[in-house]
Every structure is written in structure tokens, then in C-alpha cells.
């Protein structure tokens, strides 16, 4: 009968199709929604200060049901902090030795944590109190195995505000150990600034560098050879450093989380020496750069002179045929005062690209003192830039006042000096746009070319 044939066929086809439909394998995984942080709200019954008082001179295990809370202030992303978790509360800070090398993933800076202390061991490493698991036989404690960290350290919500305590070197004392501090108006000592590296990145050895404040007090900054910034040269300027205060035996020591916490941006150091703060200085003007004023390339010297104010051009400044391109502006002589070499008056129809943030010019030659520039902006005010020591391309940030300290020796190369105009608006009408100054009683033999903005 035909029926069986067609029955068979239909059966077959239905079977095949239904099997195919049931064979879907889903391999797409949606991104899970970020889970909001939860505060477990454990009952805290001890402060960190009280915890530190539990230490009686030798390694011991904590037997009481104590719970502390604190905020994470250590950050091991840059490799300087290693296998250590440091937390602080209002009463102080303490560190935990943990066998993990990426604590910033689960315990980032600013995360609130609770610590169940029972079972942990307390010891001290050269007078710095530490908590861990077990006696290391050398006065301190062993690390808490990675698997057991969360048995003791309970996660709380992330992104808690941590305000580093502003303090001076003289005020530092034991009670601030393992807390986040901010030192203001400090700088690396003269012999290290701009010369030494944070640590020995080549041999991967730890090193100390020295910070000092303007009163002459010093403190050691200890950095691991494995830190990402170990090979960075310590900056020359003065400013603030946010770090963790630690003690080593009887001396003070600082521990950096990341190199960005060192903000030494003031080019005027204690004692008046001016240093350029060089942060990846541009090697050429950016795309779309325009001349700051007509004649700023010094090809047409008369055009240039027409832009100046009534004081005109100082005597020892001339045009030179040896420009970076074409002709240049030459300063050759020994000023007897801190002279204004020239001051440019803004043109009525000057047009600058939107969002101008940099002013640059080329320099070649030598001088015993340096250059200082005024960029005039809103309502008659002006911003000062001190070039300081110059031998390579430099990026200069503004300073408080004119200073001429520093020497220029470009080794017969054209170098680009770039001023960071962030916060300065050029187009405000005033009677002045730009002025170049030199220091007194120093020999100058410089060429300057192509003053541009971009």
C-alpha cells in the first residue's frame, strides 16, 4: 500500500526535523550584571590601636574573638607593595602578610574590610607590627595562604574615601605606622633628584632614596627592585608625596603604592634652584600648530619687531641666518639685569586653534643662566614659565614667579621647549601677549626659532 510508504516517509521527516530542533547548543554567555557591594556589617569590637597593643614583644597567636574593621590603603598593582595588605582605621594602621601577588584585584585601595583576628598570629618585622599565620621563627609571622585569606579578611564595600593625613617629617611617630600620609613641600635630595632611580631595576634589588623638606629633615623612601617604576629616575621638583609610613628598627621609612603618588611639580625647590619638570616632552609642535604672532618664525625680522611693545628689542638680540628653518632669533651677550628681551603685543585679529594647550619654541646654544617667559592671559594677569636646566626637549609647567636658575647646553642640537598652557587663555585682550626674560650676569649664546601654539 502506498500509505505505508508515505507514512514511513512522513515519520522519517518529522523525526529528523524534530531531532534537529532539539539539538540547539547555546554557547552564548551574557555578561553578568555587576554585583553591588554588600557590607556584611560584622560586629566590630576592637580598634587597630588596641590590636597593636596585643603585641607583647614576641610572636603570638590571637585567641580572642576580636573583629576589627578598616580600609585598605595598600595597592600592589605596581609591584612595590608585595604580598602585604595594609589597612587603617581612625586609630591607626596595620599590615597583613598574605600569600597573593595581586591583592588589588580583590582588595583594592579603598575597600572596607573586616578582619576576624582569632587564629591569626601577631609579630613584628624590625619593629613594624605584622599579622599573618604562624610563627616565621624570626620574630614575625608567615603569610596567610591564598586559600585562607577570606577566612580572616572579610570584604566590605569598595571605593571608601581615604584621606591621607597631612603631616610633616618631624611629626611622624610610631602611632602613625602603616597609615596613609601626605608629606607636602618635600623633594628628593640634591644628589639624587633627576639622577638616581627609585630602585635597582636591572638587578632587581631594593633601594632607598631620601626625601627632605625645606627645614632640612630627611626620610627614607624604600622601593623594591621589582616595582614597575623601579627604573624611573626620581623627579627633581618639590611637592607632595602620598605614601604609607612604616618603621624599620628605629628609623622611619616610606612605602609608595604607585609612582603617581609622587607629585613633585613645583619647579622651584627648597633653596631656590629651579628645575624643569619634564614629562615626556614633545619633540615637535603638534599637528595644526600656528605661529604665536606674525614674525614668530623670525624670517621677516621687521615684521617681528612690529609686534613688540614700546620697549622694543634688547640690544644683544638679533636675527641669525642659522635657524631651525630659515632664520632664527639670536641672543648673544651678558645681561646686567634680569632683562625683558622683548614683549609681544597681541594683534587685533590673532586667531588660534580652539583648545590651544601648548606653546613651543626651538632653542639651540649655551647659556649660564636660563630663560623665563611670561604668557599673558585673562584680565592682565600672566603665567610664568621657567625653563631651568635645558639640554633636551622639555615640557615646562608654570611656576609662581620668574626665576633664571639653571644652565642651557643643547649640545649643538635644536631642542624643543614646550610650555604647558593648561588653564591659560590666549585670546583675552590685554596689552601684552608674551614676554621673554633672561637672568643677569650670565653669558648667553642662544638661538630661538618658531614660536608656535597648538
Amino acid at each position: 500500500m502506498k500509505n505505508i510508504n508515505s507514512l514511513f516517509k512522513t515519520l522519517l521527516v518529522t523525526l529528523v526535523i524534530s531531532t534537529l530542533f532539539s539539538s540547539c547548543i547555546k554557547d552564548k554567555f551574557d555578561t553578568p550584571q555587576p554585583k553591588p557591594d554588600v557590607d556584611p556589617n560584622l560586629a566590630v569590637n576592637m580598634t587597630i590601636e588596641e590590636l597593636k597593643n596585643l603585641y607583647k614583644g614576641k610572636t603570638d597567636t590571637i585567641t580572642g574573638d576580636y573583629i576589627i574593621t578598616g580600609t585598605v590603603i595598600s595597592d600592589d598593582q605596581q609591584g612595590n607593595v608585595y604580598q602585604t595588605l595594609i589597612i587603617q582605621d581612625a586609630t591607626g594602621g596595620v599590615g597583613f602578610r598574605v600569600q597573593r601577588s595581586d591583592l588589588f584585584t580583590d582588595f583594592p585601595f579603598g575597600r572596607k574590610v573586616y578582619v576576624k583576628l582569632k587564629g591569626l598570629s601577631i609579630g613584628a618585622y624590625n619593629n613594624l607590627i605584622q599579622l599573618g599565620l604562624g610563627d616565621d621563627g624570626q620574630g614575625s609571622v608567615n603569610t596567610i595562604g591564598a586559600e585562607f585569606v577570606e577566612d580572616f579578611i572579610v570584604k566590605g564595600p569598595r571605593n571608601q574615601t581615604v584621606i591621607p593625613k597631612e603631616i610633616t617629617i618631624a611629626e611622624l611617630s610610631e602611632k602613625y605606622q602603616n597609615t596613609l600620609i601626605k608629606l607636602k613641600d618635600v623633594q628628593f635630595i640634591e644628589s639624587e633628584a633627576g639622577v638616581a632611580t627609585y630602585a635597582d631595576a636591572v638587578k632587581k634589588l631594593s633601594k632607598s632614596t631620601k626625601l627632605e623638606d625645606c627645614s632640612g629633615k630627611t626620610i627614607e623612601l624604600r622601593t623594591s627592585g621589582y616595582a614597575k617604576f623601579a627604573g624611573n629616575v626620581v623627579p627633581q621638583g618639590k611637592g607632595e608625596v602620598v605614601c604609607i609610613y612604616q618603621i624599620f628598627k628605629t628609623s622611619n621609612q616610606l612605602l609608595l603604592n604607585k609612582v603617581e603618588d609622587v607629585k613633585l611639580e613645583d619647579t622651584a625647590r627648597c633653596g631656590g634652584i629651579v628645575v624643569p619638570v619634564d614629562t615626556t616632552a614633545p619633540t615637535q609642535p603638534g599637528a595644526g600648530a600656528v605661529l604665536l604672532f606674525p614674525g614668530a618664525d623670525f624670517e621677516d625680522f621687521d615684521l617681528f619687531k612690529n609686534q613688540l611693545n614700546s620697549f622694543g628689542l634688547i640690544a644683544y638680540a638679533t636675527q641669525s641666518p642659522n635657524g631651525k628653518s630659515g632664520s632664527a632669533f639670536a641672543i648673544k651677550g651678558t645681561p646686567t639685569e634680569n632683562d625683558y628681551v622683548f614683549t609681544v603685543v597681541p594683534s587685533a585679529n590673532a586667531k588660534y586653534p580652539a583648545g590651544v594647550t601648548k606653546l613651543s619654541f626651538y632653542v639651540k646654544g649655551t647659556s649660564a643662566s636660563s630663560l623665563s617667559l611670561n604668557v599673558y592671559g585673562a584680565s592682565g594677569g600672566f603665567t610664568v614659565y621657567n625653563v631651568g636646566n635645558l639640554s633636551n626637549n622639555s615640557l615646562i609647567k608654570s611656576s609662581a614667579s620668574n626665576a633664571y636658575g639653571g644652565a642651557i647646553d643643547t649640545k649643538n642640537n635644536w631642542v624643543l621647549v614646550t610650555l604647558d598652557l593648561t588653564g591659560v587663555t590666549l585670546n583675552d585682550p590685554t596689552d601684552k601677549l608674551f614676554a621673554l626674560k633672561v637672568g643677569k650676569n650670565s653669558d648667553y649664546d642662544l638661538l630661538i626659532d618658531d614660536i608656535k601654539v597648538w
Partner: protein, 847 residues
């Protein structure tokens, strides 16, 4: 790129876990036989990465006639038995006139046609040094499959199979018109293989296959066939791990690659492959004395393998040695940890939730993106991602084969061949796991050369921000050209058959770097030197036909072989550098045997001896002493493979028959290899080390294998057979690093420590039991009004009936070694286990 190198080579990939489906098809010899014989479906070799299939020839290409061969593939596949201990690249496979082996590694790509069993039935296999009518061949053997439409039997087949191996279900349908009166023939086949989870937890399988062939036979002289096929397959992977993890998990099928994501199992190691092939075949046969088969083929496609990648965080993989309890020194805590794992097995699986959590909360600023000063990007930077390692393939072959009968005794076979291959290898961001971007940096170079641009993977786009789908890491091409010519004279006389053949070939290949990386600024971008090799081979033999039932034969061959790309280029992901002096491998082989062919008994006994000289191989791994990734370019590898093969098939009484097959071989190194050691982060040659590798044995295959089978075939169209299999002389792949002076100089000899470090591990002998049975039901007997012959076939195969879960199919000593303490247990060996009881039940309707 280097990162991928690190991860890939860091022994979590090494050898993918390939399982053979071991149901064989016995190819019918004639229509009549087909009527009476039951056909069991042979599930294809499913390999997760064709590079890692040790031979994989198994099932699909079994020749029913040779009792040894069918046992070798059918019964011993589960133990990953390799015929004569040879690698996959000692065999060659042709389809419709073109060679299908990859020029990059010589491996036959069986996965190209997985699931297409129905159309692969017309095939011939010849083991060893026998002559063929289509190729010069390789020492191991050669296979030829003819899938042209006119060769497919006219039929309609629909089948469904249920199994518990790599996949759980298979649906297959084939329709062939056979050769019609108009001279046209068409063939269509497709299959669907799938499993939400295969035998190993966390492995899913999602595969389709398609096949189409159209052929026109113009007249007696010409025919033209166009064939196309492809097998897009996606599957979740598994891998061998150290014994500690098997013990913690309580099973030999622990899979470190998966973890729960919101309640669903997610596998980090997903393999995807789709390489469609087109073959145009022309056959010209002006007389019955001359036949010229010419074919041109084109294959293109993609292979992807995903994996975890991470930047400057600790290794998140559950199988990383520091994430295991054995890493903890304190015994008390170690035991607490072990107990926790036993109570909470998720602890040793991938923790997806944590990686998402970290990425979703990690805000960072990347400075100077794309090298533009001041171009800073702030956002959620992923620290963990899923990367895709991709190979894009383009292949073309031109091949012609001539068969000419010269006179009543002699015939000539020969051919010309040109092959081209271009592989493009690169990495891609697969999944940002909750973050907004990744950055194209080499964290290892960053650590070693801080503050420089050595950490840039692509100097043209430094600090590149990467989104999903962006290329990163490495990006290079491998380009190959090979031209060859071969010729063979064979003669048949009353008592003697003899042949002599020779082949000449020219091969060249080179690397083309597509990005310039910071570590090798002058040597990573652009074309490398062209590596050129000239190779030849000579093969000959004779068979003496004592009478129609007894034959003896002896064959021998000598050939040279060009070294493979990855063994010549020291670190192709990073640079164009090669080993100092790439040289050809030399292979000499002889075999001799006796064949008995009576109606009651079929038997073959063979002895063989093969010498491989001057092989080379590059291994890359993380070296504890150098704290860096190291390339060991091994040269001067000499090996001997010799042994005997026995296959007997005997009819006992009525429907009962017995099979016996045994392979006893010895495969080992005969030389002290030379290792040129280079660091991934620098191009200098660190040292030339001597490896004391003499007499170390080949791993990954039982060197002794035997099977004893009893089979009953009933006249009522059913059959059953039982096989007892024995495997022995299985050795673990050894770490050459441990057999150097540097490894042992401070160890007292003799001592236990010395032996531990130096001795090669021998795995325990194993026994397994297999069952196969089937029934064939001719429908028109039951439904008398059905016009044509319809059949339903039922085949059942149960492997490893005794559920032996201790059969180690392979494994290797980790290349990472603790030199300081000579502690082999710091980085213990990794093992792969064969499945326990597994089955394949297939029901097919045939019209």
C-alpha cells in the same frame, strides 16, 4: 603574542585530548556482501586540534581485508595506539586525486570531513611500504578516498546514533543518485552531531557537516566531478592534568577548563573549526591502458581556540600549580584546604564570577594610547579576558596522476603535484569578561625591560586599546610551496610482483610578520629568509606468490623529508629567527611479511625496521632557572622503530570466528639530541646543551598491543563480537631538560633522587573488553507491499565494558623543572585517561 606563547606552551595546551570513536565500518566488497553484511557506523576520530591527533587514522579508513589494520584502528584506538609508533605525518591521505595533508605539519586533517562517514566508504588503505596507484607515499601508509558522486551507491540513508563520547547524538542523512542514465551522478550528505555535555564534564559539542558532489561522465573517456564538503564544528575542550587534581576531583575525567557562570557550565577552551574544501576532478581514460586523473582543490577556513588570558595578575587557572594545595608548605593547612575542595568541587573549576567582578571594578588610565602624547584613556580595564588563537587557512592543490599499462606485465604510475598553503596566525580578544578594554602589551617583556618599548606587541600602535574582536599579540603568516614529481614501475608475473618508485620534491616556506613587536624590532616584521629544501625518495619491493593462498613480501624505502615550519622557526610568534642549520630528515625503512589467505583463515605476519635520522623539534616552555620563556630547538634526533605485527582471522565453526591481532614494537631514541636554547625575550643563543636521550622511548602509544576477539555471525542477520584488548609498554613523554648535565650534576649517583629525575616513567599495563553487535532488518520482508528493499540497521558498540578508568592514554613530563631542588614533584607529570564504559548505538534506515 608572546603571551599567547607563554600560555599555549605552558603545558596547559601541549596535547589536546583526542578521543577516537571506535566503531568500525567494514567496507563491503560487493553488492552481495552488502546485502548480508551488517554495516556498523564508524564514528569519526574527533580531534580538538588536528595538530594533536597522534595518528587519528583510525576508524574511518579501516580496510576490512587486513585483520591487523582493522584491529589496530578499531580495538586499539581508545589507547591511542599508533601504528608502528609513527606520528600522524608518516601517513598520507588523498581524496579525489588531491593530497589532504597539511604542509605545515604533515598531519592528515581528518576533522575536515568528520561526520561524513556515509560518503567515505569507497576507499583503499595500504599500510607500510606497499605501492599504490595514486602516490609515492610515506613510511606509515597511505589512504585514498574516492567520494565522487558516481562512486556513491544509489541509496537514501537516514540514521540516528546515541552515544556518550565526545558527542551524545548524531543525525545523518545521505542521498545518492548513483550513476544515472544521463551520465550525471549526484550525492548529498549531511550530519549533525551534538551534546550539551559529552563524556567529560564541561565539554559540549556542536557540529554540522555537509557534502555535495556532482559528476558528469561524458563518455568512456572523460568524466568531471565537483565535490565540496565542510564540517563546521564547535566544541568545549578538556585537558590532561597532574595526578593531584584527579585525586582532588575524585575522577579521571576532571576538566580544568570549565566553571559555573550564573549556574551554567562555561568552558574557557572552546574549539571552532570550519574549513570547506572544493575539489574538481577530471578523469581521462582513452583506453583501458591509460588513465589520467587530474584534480585541483581549494580549501579555506578558520580554526579558533579560546583560552584565558590575563595581565599582571596571578594565574587564575585552577590547574596552575600555585593554586593547588600541594603548593602550601604547612601540612595542617594543606589538609584543611583539601577537605574544602572535596566538599566544594567548584573550587577547582574556573571562577568566572570573580573575574567579572574584578574587571567590572577595575578602573585604570592608560597613557599615550596609540603613541599619541597626552592621549589618555580611562575606563574599566580588563585584567582577565578570553583570547582567541586563530589560524586562517588558504590552501590550493594541483595534482595529476597517470596510470599506464605498458605491457601485459608492467605498468607505470606517476604524477606531478603542486601544493600551496598560507596560514595566518593571530590572536583576537574573545570576551572582555565585564571590562571595557584590554591593552596590547607584553607583560613579560615589561618585567624584563621596564621603561622601554620592548613591551609593545605592535610598535605601530603602542599602548593600543583593544575591544572584543580586535587583533592583538602576534600576527604572522606561514607560506608554503611544494612541487613534486614521482614515478613508479610495477610488474606482475605469475609468481612475483615487484615495484620500484621514486619521488623528487622541492619545498620552500617562510614567515611573514605582520606586526613589529618591541622585543625584536628589526626581526619581527616582514618576510623571513625563504627556507628551501630538496627531497627525494626511493621505494621498492617484491612479493613472491607461493601459491594463491600464501605470499611473502619484502619492501624497503629510503627518503629524505624537509623539517616542519615550527621546528625550524625558533619562536614564530615573535620573530623571523630560525635554527642555525635546518636540515632534512632521513628515513630508511624495511619490512617483510607473510600473508595467508584461505577461505578459513586470513593471516598476516610482518616485521619492520625503520630508522629516522636527523629529526628536529622545537619546544617552548617556562624555564625556572631563566625565569623566562625558553625555546629548546632539538636537533640530531635519531630514532629506531622496529617490531612485528600479527593479524589472524579464522573461521572456527559455522558462524563462529576468531580474530587475533598483536603489535609488538620498540620505538626509541638512538642519539644524544642537541638542544639550542634561546630565550623568548632575547635572540642570543644561550647555550648548546647535550640531551642524554639515548634509549629513551617514544611516549603516547602502547608499544605492545594485542586483541583477541570472538565473533558470531548468524544467518538470521545479526552478529555479535567480543574483544579482549591488552596494552603494555606505554611510556610517558619525557622532558629533555631533565636529562642534561645541568639537571643532574649535583645529584649523587646512584640514588633515588637521581633515578627519579632521570628514569622515564612507564605506565601500567591495562586490559579492556569491547562488545559489538548488530542486527539488520529487511523491511520488505515484514511489510510485503514495499516495493524496494528497505533496511533498518541497528548497531551497538560498547567499549570498555569493565569500565577500566585507569587506562592512561598519554601524558607528559612537564617541561618546567625545579633545578634548584631536583624536585620532580614540584611540576609533576600530566596524564590523560581513556573513557570508562562508552557506547555507540546507531539505527539507520536505508532505501
Amino acid at each position: 603574542m608572546v603571551k599567547q606563547l607563554f600560555l599555549v606552551m605552558s603545558f596547559s595546551v601541549g596535547i589536546a585530548y583526542a578521543q577516537t570513536e571506535t566503531d568500525t565500518i567494514k567496507v563491503p566488497q560487493s553488492d552481495e556482501l552488502r546485502e548480508n553484511q551488517l554495516i556498523f557506523d564508524e564514528a569519526p576520530v574527533v580531534s580538538l586540534d588536528d595538530n594533536d591527533v597522534s595518528q587519528g587514522i583510525s576508524s574511518q579508513l579501516t580496510a576490512g581485508r587486513d585483520p591487523f589494520f582493522s584491529s589496530a584502528t578499531f580495538n586499539w584506538g581508545a589507547a591511542r595506539f599508533r601504528i608502528r609508533g609513527y606520528d600522524n605525518n608518516s601517513f598520507v591521505t588523498y581524496m579525489n586525486g588531491v593530497p589532504m595533508d597539511g604542509l605545515d605539519n604533515g598531519n592528515s586533517s581528518f576533522f575536515l570531513w568528520s561526520g561524513l562517514n556515509d560518503v567515505l566508504r569507497n576507499r583503499e588503505s595500504s599500510l607500510g611500504l606497499r605501492p599504490t596507484t595514486y602516490t609515492f607515499g610515506e613510511v606509515g601508509g597511505q589512504f585514498n578516498i574516492d567520494t565522487r558522486a558516481s562512486k556513491q551507491w544509489k541509496q537514501l540513508r537516514v540514521g540516528y546514533a546515541s552515544t556518550n563520547r565526545n558527542y551524545r547524538n548524531r543525525l545523518m542523512a545521505t542521498y545518492n543518485t548513483g550513476l544515472t542514465k544521463s551520465g550525471w551522478a549526484f550525492s548529498l550528505s549531511g550530519s549533525r552531531r551534538w551534546a550539551k555535555e559529552g563524556y567529560v564534564p564541561g565539554t559540549f559539542y556542536d557540529g554540522w557537516s555537509y557534502f555535495a558532489s556532482a559528476e558528469k561522465i561524458f563518455n568512456q573517456k572523460h568524466s568531471l566531478a565537483l565535490t565540496t564538503f565542510g564540517a563546521p564544528t564547535k566544541s568545549g575542550g578538556s585537558g590532561g592534568v597532574v595526578q593531584e587534581l584527579y585525586d582532588l576531583a575524585g575522577t579521571h575525567y576532571y576538566n580544568p577548563y570549565w566553571g559555573y557562570q550564573e549556574g551554567k557550565k562555561r568552558n574557557s577552551r572552546v574549539n571552532l573549526s570550519h574549513q570547506p574544501t572544493f575539489i574538481l576532478t577530471h578523469e581521462y581514460s582513452p583506453s583501458n591502458k591509460l588513465n589520467i586523473l587530474s584534480a585541483v582543490s581549494y580549501t579555506f577556513g578558520i580554526r579558533k581556540q579560546s583560552g584565558l588570558d590575563w595581565y599582571n595578575v596571578s594565574d587564575p587557572r585552577p590547574e596552575y600549580y600555585r593554586n593547588l594545595p600541594s603548593y602550601l608548605l604547612n601540612e595542617e593547612y594543606r589538609n584543611i584546604w583539601i577537605d574544602r575542595i572535596k566538599e566544594n568541587p567548584e573550587m577547582i573549576q574556573v571562577d568566572w564570577a570573580r573575574m567579572y567582578d574584578v574587571n567590572q571594578n577595575n578602573i585604570e588610565t592608560i597613557k599615550d594610547v596609540d603613541g599619541i602624547s597626552g592621549n589618555d584613556v580611562t575606563g574599566h580595564r580588563s585584567r582577565y579576558i578570553i583570547e582567541q588563537r586563530i589560524t586562517k587557512v588558504q590552501r590550493a592543490n594541483l595534482n595529476t596522476i597517470i596510470n599506464a599499462t605498458l605491457n601485459e606485465n608492467l605498468s607505470f604510475t606517476g604524477g606531478l603535484s603542486y601544493q600551496y598553503l598560507k596560514n595566518r596566525l593571530y590572536k583576537e580578544i574573545g570576551d572582555l569578561l565585564g571590562g571595557e578594554f584590554y591593552v596590547n602589551l607584553n607583560q613579560f617583556a615589561e618585567r624584563d625591560f621596564p621603561g622601554s618599548n620592548a613591551n609593545q606587541n605592535d610598535l605601530n600602535r603602542p599602548n593600543q586599546i583593544l575591544k572584543e574582536g580586535d587583533k592583538y599579540g602576534y600576527d604572522y603568516e606561514m607560506i608554503f610551496n611544494k612541487a613534486s614529481a614521482w614515478g613508479q614501475i610495477s610488474g606482475t608475473w605469475s609468481h612475483v610482483d615487484a615495484f620500484l618508485s621514486t619521488e623528487l620534491s622541492f619545498t620552500n616556506y617562510y614567515r611573514n610578520g605582520l606586526n613589529r613587536n618591541g622585543l625584536f624590532q628589526d626581526n619581527s616584521f616582514g618576510k623571513s629568509d625563504k627556507q628551501k629544501f630538496f627531497n627525494f625518495g626511493v621505494k621498492g619491493g617484491a612479493t613472491y606468490k607461493i601459491n594463491g593462498r600464501n605470499y611473502i613480501y619484502a619492501n624497503g624505502s629510503y627518503s629524505t623529508k624537509a623539517p616542519y615550519f615550527n621546528d625550524v622557526f625558533v619562536s614564530p610568534r615573535t620573530r623571523n629567527s630560525t635554527v642555525s642549520n635546518p636540515e632534512n630528515e632521513k628515513i630508511a625503512s624495511v619490512e617483510s611479511g607473510y600473508v595467508l589467505n584461505t577461505p578459513r583463515v586470513k593471516a598476516r605476519l610482518t616485521g619492520y625496521f625503520t630508522k629516522f635520522d636527523n629529526q628536529s623539534r622545537t619546544m617552548t616552555f617556562y624555564h625556572d632557572d631563566y625565569r623566562n620563556f625558553v625555546n629548546y630547538s632539538l636537533t640530531n634526533i635519531d630514532k629506531i622503530h622496529f617490531g612485528g605485527e600479527l593479524g589472524v582471522e579464522a573461521k572456527i565453526y559455522k558462524g563462529f570466528s576468531m580474530t587475533l591481532a598483536a603489535a609488538m614494537g620498540r620505538y626509541f631514541n638512538t642519539s644524544r639530541q642537541n638542544a639550542e636554547v634561546t630565550l623568548d625575550n632575547s635572540s642570543e643563543i644561550l647555550q648548546n646543551e647535550l640531551i642524554y636521550s639515548k634509549y629513551f622511548k617514544e611516549g603516547g602509544t602502547p608499544q605492545t598491543a594485542a586483541t583477541l576477539g570472538f565473533n558470531y555471525r548468524s544467518p538470521k542477520y545479526w552478529f555479535a563480537s567480543v574483544n579482549l584488548n591488552y596494552f603494555d609498554d606505554m611510556w610517558l613523554d619525557y622532558n629533555p631538560l631533565r636529562r642534561t648535565w645541568a639537571a643532574v650534576e649535583e645529584l649523587p649517583n646512584p640514588s633515588d633522587t637521581y633515578d627519579q629525575v632521570v628514569q622515564q616513567e612507564r605506565l601500567k599495563a591495562q586490559l579492556t573488553l569491547d562488545f559489538f553487535g548488530g542486527y539488520s532488518w529487511k523491511l520488505d520482508k515484514t511489510f510485503k507491499n514495499m516495493k524496494k528493499a528497505h533496511y533498518i540497521y541497528l548497531n551497538v558498540g560498547v567499549n570498555n565494558i569493565t569500565n577500566n578508568k585507569n587506562l592512561i592514554t598519554g601524558g607528559y613530563e612537564q617541561l618546567r623543572y625545579d633545578f634548584e631542588n631536583a624536585n620532580v614533584n614540584k611540576f609533576p607529570s600530566r596524564y590523560f585517561y581513556a573513557y570508562g564504559t562508552n557506547y555507540f548505538i546507531n539505527i539507520t534506515y536505508k532505501l
